[in-house]
Structures are given as structure tokens and as C-alpha cells.
């Protein structure tokens, strides 16, 4: 086949080009891999933990457990400290604004998720109004997570990390504030539209063009501080988190605009739909979350990333392979065979960036796992990182025809999507919010017990959710492939799992309420005043 030959050679040329490109990146760092990883630390700071989410007592335990052997004096210099305090101050307002919206949307998303879930075993519940019908509540849930909670949290973290990583106060924050307002206004308009049937009928792209264009404009404005601050940067090397964030901020508006161009038609529209649907996960939420882990994990344990070059390999391979996996949503559908083949191959190739990240995270945290007991941030982000590995490996295998035939069209895929967007992205965002809030409000989390409660509720709830829905989905797929069984068997068999999913989802929602209450208490500065505020130089005191 000619097409196959062309495709194969194009693939090989692209891989060679990619490897050469990564190599050229590496070369410039050939002696500086370790130095580059240390960019996020002050001159003498390696060996000092930074963990504003922990109680002072636990911070002390972490510090002494980890670095009892290091000589005293291993701590941040006053000069570096001032730079960091100024960085946090410069991003405080904008980050807080993003987080407030994120928490708000998290609650809205939980409510619609839970309603949708219950409807699949109580189909006669809330049927009197159109906006409460399953097809609409599910769509609202998806859009609130995809354009509300996840991006608001991730972009808030992003704006906070920038000045720290570039060692200069955040510039252009007002663009981000304007972008935030436009984005949220557009999102509200889009949601009201969907609730009333104003909807394109394309998954992940339901919000129609006249509104979606404002999401793209808002997204571009939110990326402006990156552009402006980069020009004033005081660091010679851009830390890997900046790569991830920079690319994601550039990709999002581009993806949305191209997917929304009013030229798509026929089956091509379906491929463009899933090109977007998968890329918004892979090239937006994922890089922003990985950027957070690559910064927070080393900071909390006071130790640079184990292999810095591996993190760069991970970045470029992620960008390359992820971009072309979208076709695996159409396996078995009426789309060109070569496109499916390409997407399956690239889905399997995704194992490379995933391995690069997973090995790196494991090597970095190795020997420090007991720190998870003391650090809430670490607990959330390390678990989130593991969920990234699991969901990506699962995703790669789901793209294989043999597995896809069973899992496609079933709840198995829904469980998988939640492993990625909840188990990975949301958990990492929770961890980041716990780290960042004390820094930008100069106030400690009032009730550490609530952080633990939030953690255990979402972990327990999500475990129930995932196990119940995955097994129900698998059985559903098996029954649907069995010609001797009537279709309705594949509906009945999912019922216990769907009820289990509602129970898990309710527990997760409780966890989110705990977070929201704690967040408000913190903003109101209520709760007991603890012995010391979580200011920077208290870490090793």
C-alpha cells in the first residue's frame, strides 16, 4: 500500500527529527543537567524543605528526618528569600482569584456529576425539566470540569509558579485578571446555553463558536504574563516546568480556534473533534499538571529532580506523540484506516514520555516515601503522579484494537477518563492549592485535620468510583460483544457498578465540600492562630 509506505517513512523521519531535536536540547545542557535542576532552589537551599501545607511540628520532623546529617546553615539566603517573597506577593492576587473560581466550579462540577451518576440508576428522578435531563447534566458536568475547575486551578498554579521560576516579580498580571473574567463570563454563557439546548453536538466542543471564541481570547490573555515576565527573567536557564507551561498556554488557544473553525464537515469533523478532545487533555491539562509536579515535588523534599535531561525528553516526546493519538476514539468507526493505525501507534509510543516521568518521579522521591505521612502536598501530588502513570498506561492499552473492542462505548472509558482528569490532574491541583494558599495569603491552613479528611474522603471515594465503574464497564463491553445475549443484559449488568459509582462520587463530593469550607475559613482568617505563620524561613527553624 502506497499510503502505508508514505505514512511509515513520514513516521520514521519524524521520530529521527524528534530525537535529533531532543539531543540538541540536551547538548546545551551537557554539563548543566544537575545545575539546571537546581535552578528552583536558592544558592545554598538544597536540603531545605519547603512545605507550607504541613503543621510546624510536621515540618520540623520532615526536615530533621530528611537532612539530619547535613550541616546546619543549609538554608535559603536572605537575598534569595526576598526574591521569593516578592515573587509570591506579585502573583498573590491573580492566583487567589483563579483559585476562588476553581473551588466554585469544583462544587458545581461535583453537583452535576453526582446528579448525572444517580440518574443512571434512578432514571425517573428529576425528569420534569429539560435542563435536568441526563444528556444535559452530563454535558454540564464535563464542561464545568474541562473549562471551569481544571483550567482555573492549573492556570492559577501556573501564574504563581512563573515569578518563582523566572526569579522576577510577575509582570502583566492584569492581562491574566482580564482573561480570567472573560473566560468565566464565556463559560457561564456557554453553560446557560447548553442547559437551554444551545449546543454544537460535538463532545468537548459543545460550547458554540460565538462563545468559544471568548474562551480562546481569555486563554490567550491568561498566557500574557508568561510572555511579559519571560522578557524580564533573571534566570539563564528555563526550568522544565516553564517549558510545559509555555507550550500549554500557547497550545490551548490554538487548539480551540482550529477545532472551532467553521470549515469542518463530515467524518473529518469527527477526527478534528477527537484531535481536539484528546489534545486538550494531553497538551493542556497534562503539561500544566506535570509542570506543577516538577516544581512542587523537589521543593517539598528539598532535593532536585533526579534526572533533569529525562524530564526534557519527557516533554518533547509527550508533545510529539500526544498530538496524534486522538484517532483512537474512532477505532471501529467509519474513518480512514491509516488514521486509526497512526493513532494506535502513537498511543503506544506515549509509554515513552510516561516512563520518562514515572522513573524520574520515583527516583526523586525514592527513600523519602515516609514523608507522605507528614506533608499533605506531597501526599496529593505523589499519588496524583502515580495516577498519571496508571491512566496513561491504561490509555495506551485501551487504544489496542483487542482491548478497544471491549471497552469502547462503555463506562470503562468513563472510569479511565476520571483516572486521568481526577486521579491525576485534580489530585495534583489539590496538592498545589494546599502548598500555595499559605504563601499567597500569609496564613496557615486553620485546621490541618480537615486536609487529612479531604484527602481520605477523595481517595476512598475515588477508589470506590474507579473500581465499580471499571468492572461494570468491562462486563458491559463483554456482554455487548456476546451475540447470544440481548442488549438489555449489558444494561442490567452495569447497575451495581453505577450505584457504586454514585456512592463513590458522593464521598468525593463530601471531600470537595471539606476543601471548600476550609478554603473559606482560611480566607476569613478564622480558626485557631497557630504558633507561627507558614512564612518561608520558618521551614528549617
Amino acid at each position: 500500500m502506497n499510503v502505508l509506505a508514505i505514512l511509515l517513512s513520514a513516521f520514521i523521519i519524524a521520530i529521527i527529527g524528534l530525537m535529533f531535536f531532543i539531543w540538541s536540547q540536551r547538548k546545551s545542557l551537557v554539563d548543566g543537567g544537575d545545575a539546571a535542576a537546581r535552578v528552583i532552589f536558592g544558592a545554598d537551599e538544597v536540603g531545605t524543605i519547603e512545605d507550607p501545607s504541613a503543621t510546624p511540628a510536621n515540618r520540623k520532623i520532615q526536615q530533621t528526618h530528611l537532612y539530619s546529617h547535613t550541616a546546619p546553615g543549609h538554608r535559603i539566603s536572605d537575598e534569595d528569600l526576598q526574591v521569593r517573597i516578592r515573587a509570591d506577593q506579585s502573583s498573590a492576587r491573580v492566583t487567589l482569584a483563579f483559585f476562588c473560581m476553581a473551588i466554585f466550579w469544583l462544587l458545581v462540577a461535583s453537583a452535576f456529576g453526582l446528579i448525572s451518576s444517580i440518574k443512571l440508576h434512578e432514571p425517573d428522578w428529576l425528569t420534569q425539566s429539560q435542563w435536568l435531563t441526563f444528556g444535559i447534566t452530563r454535558t454540564l458536568h464535563l464542561n464545568v470540569v474541562a473549562y471551569g475547575w481544571a483550567p482555573m486551578a492549573a492556570l492559577g498554579v501556573c501564574n504563581w509558579m512563573l515569578p518563582r521560576l523566572l526569579k522576577t516579580p510577575l509582570a502583566g498580571a492584569r492581562y491574566a485578571i482580564a482573561g480570567l473574567m472573560i473566560w468565566n463570563a464565556a463559560l457561564i454563557a456557554g453553560l446557560v446555553g447548553i442547559a437551554n439546548g444551545y449546543n454544537t453536538g460535538l463532545e468537548w466542543l459543545e460550547i458554540p463558536l460565538p462563545i468559544a471564541v471568548w474562551l480562546a481570547i481569555g486563554g490567550a490573555l491568561i498566557g500574557m504574563p508568561l510572555v511579559v515576565t519571560l522578557q524580564q527573567r533573571k534566570v539563564a536557564h528555563l526550568y522544565v516546568s516553564v517549558w510545559y507551561m509555555g507550550a500549554a498556554l500557547f497550545w490551548f488557544p490554538a487548539l480551540l480556534i482550529i477545532a472551532k473553525l467553521p470549515i469542518h464537515h463530515g467524518i473529518e469533523q469527527a477526527t478534528a473533534n477527537w484531535w481536539f478532545g484528546h489534545n486538550v487533555l494531553g497538551l493542556f491539562y497534562t503539561p500544566l499538571s506535570l509542570a506543577s509536579i516538577y516544581y512542587l515535588l523537589p521543593k517539598v523534599i528539598g532535593k532536585p529532580v533526579e534526572s533533569y535531561n529525562l524530564s526534557l525528553v519527557g516533554f518533547w516526546t509527550l508533545a510529539f506523540f500526544y498530538g496524534q493519538v486522538g484517532g483512537h476514539h474512532l477505532i471501529g468507526g467509519p474513518v480512514p484506516g491509516w488514521l486509526i493505525a497512526l493513532s494506535i501507534v502513537q498511543s503506544m509510543m506515549m509509554l515513552i514520555p510516561v516512563a520518562a516521568f514515572s522513573i524520574n518521579q520515583h527516583l526523586t522521591i525514592r527513600g523519602h516515601f515516609h514523608m507522605l505521612k507528614y506533608s499533605p502536598t506531597l501526599r496529593f501530588i505523589v499519588l496524583g503522579g502515580m495516577m498519571y502513570t496508571l491512566s496513561s498506561v491504561q490509555g495506551s492499552f485501551e487504544a489496542l484494537r483487542s482491548m478497544n473492542t471491549v471497552t469502547h462505548f462503555t463506562h470503562f472509558t468513563v472510569a479511565h477518563a476520571h483516572l486521568g482528569l481526577y486521579g491525576f490532574v485534580s489530585l495534583v491541583m489539590f496538592g498545589a492549592i494546599y502548598f500555595i494558599m499559605p504563601r499567597i495569603t500569609n496564613w496557615e491552613w486553620p485546621y490541618p485535620g480537615l486536609i487529612a479528611l479531604h484527602f481520605w474522603l477523595v481517595v476512598l471515594g475515588f477508589a470506590i468510583y474507579f473500581v465499580a465503574l471499571t468492572s461494570a464497564g468491562w462486563m458491559q463491553g463483554k456482554y455487548m460483544l456476546d451475540a447470544s445475549r440481548p442488549f438489555m443484559d449489558s444494561v442490567h449488568v452495569t447497575q451495581p457498578g453505577l450505584i457504586g459509582r454514585s456512592i463513590g462520587g458522593a464521598i468525593m463530593t463530601l471531600g470537595h465540600l471539606v476543601l471548600a469550607v476550609h478554603f473559606v475559613l482560611m480566607l476569613r482568617r478564622s480558626g485557631p492562630r497557630r504558633e507561627s505563620a507558614a512564612i518561608l524561613n520558618q521551614a528549617s527553624a
Binding site: 432514571p123 441526563f134 519571560l230 468507526g333 467509519p334 474513518v335 480512514p336
Partner: protein, 211 residues
């Protein structure tokens, strides 16, 4: 500015490659699609009904893409032959769907042509299919004491009938049912769908329709 340039160029090139593969090439390939002889364009009412289908998010549970007999028993379930790209010639947008919480609907009109069945089923699915988890759509109907001239009365099974009341179908649901009744892609295909390479020759299936 060295790193920034690399980042911008690298991420643009990579994105362009993805666009080429998943958007531009399918776009070019789509250019030579044509409507199959047996496929009728939608009527205005069917198009309005299709819009009701989109508005209510039916796509959340129903696919419109029967798979090949090599892959799944869709044909045996009466869902029709595997669809080809040309079958979607008049679909803007295509409503392929990713879930089968309910059955595939690409040939629901051929399988279930009855208007009464569709209206009653949309009013209360569990009156027709035991254990169905499809939502009821009471907001697409009006309860009245007495039908007015021109009203479409829904003929419900006796157990579902409400004494002293009649259920009247709103225009939206009449449009929707017209769309569903028109979902019939049982005409013969002009070209075979793209079958996975590995499946070729493993069964007589591939040869039956090839020219």
C-alpha cells in the same frame, strides 16, 4: 531568548504535524466523498428533530456507527451494516457518539418504524423496555383533560394511561420522532468501509461486498 525560540518553534512544528495528520489529511480525503444513491437528504422536519436530539444530549448514550461483523455482533442485533464515511454526507455535525449506554441508533427507523412506539417510549421508556435506564422526557409532552383539534394524542399502554387525562405530543417530540423514523441506512454501500489490515482474509466477510 534562545530557549523561548526553541520552545515556540518546537511546539508549533509538533502541533502542525498533529493538525496535518488528524485534521488536514482527513479534510482532503473528505473532499471526494459523495452521497450514496440510497441516502435521502433530511427533510426540514427531520432536521428540526435532529436539533432536538442534539439539544437533549442523546449522544451521551447513543452511538450512530454500527461496527463491522468482524468486530462486533452489531448486525445481529439489528443495528445494521457497518457505516461508511459517505453515509454521513448530510450530517452536520456527525453524531457518531462514544457511548452505548443505550443501543446504536443508526438504523433505528428501519428497526422500529412505529410513531406510536417512539412517542410512548420517549414519554416513559420503562413502559416498553423493562429495566431501561433511559430518562423519561415528560417535558416534551403536555397533559390535558381533553385533546384539541390538531393535537397528536400519545397512545400509551393501558398501565401507563392516566385516567381522565390525555398525553399530547409537543411539536419538538414529533420532529424528533420523524428524525428517528428516518434513521435508515440499510441501502447497499457503494464502497467498503476501511477494514483493519489484520482482519483481511481471516473471514469470508471481506469478499462479499467487494467489487
Amino acid at each position: 531568548m534562545h530557549s523561548e525560540t526553541k520552545l515556540l518553534v518546537g511546539s508549533s512544528v509538533i502541533l502542525s504535524l498533529a493538525i496535518t495528520a488528524l485534521v488536514a489529511l482527513p479534510y482532503l480525503q473528505e473532499e471526494d466523498s459523495h452521497p450514496p444513491a440510497g441516502l435521502m437528504p433530511y427533510t426540514d422536519q427531520q432536521l428540526r428533530g435532529r436539533q432536538v436530539y442534539i439539544e437533549n444530549g442523546c449522544i451521551a448514550c447513543h452511538s450512530q456507527q454500527p461496527r463491522t461483523r468482524l468486530q462486533a455482533p452489531d448486525f445481529d442485533r439489528g443495528w445494521g451494516r457497518a457505516s461508511t464515511a459517505d453515509d454521513y454526507f448530510y450530517d452536520k455535525p456527525t453524531l457518531l457518539g462514544t457511548m452505548r449506554t443505550g443501543p446504536d441508533l443508526f438504523n433505528i427507523g428501519a428497526r422500529q418504524p412505529s410513531k406510536d412506539w417512539h412517542l410512548g417510549h420517549l414519554y416513559q421508556p420503562r413502559a416498553y423496555t423493562q429495566g431501561s435506564i433511559m430518562p423519561a422526557y415528560p417535558f416534551l409532552f403536555i397533559l390535558k383533560n381533553k385533546a384539541s383539534p390538531g393535537d397528536t394524542v400519545v397512545n400509551l399502554p393501558p398501565a401507563q394511561a392516566i385516567p381522565g387525562k390525555v398525553v399530547i405530543a409537543r411539536q419538538e417530540v414529533l420532529d424528533l420522532v420523524t428524525y428517528l423514523q428516518g434513521m435508515d441506512h440499510t441501502y447497499p454501500v457503494d464502497k467498503l468501509p476501511n477494514l483493519p489490515e489484520v482482519d483481511k482474509g481471516t473471514s469470508g466477510q471481506t469478499s462479499t461486498g467487494s467489487k
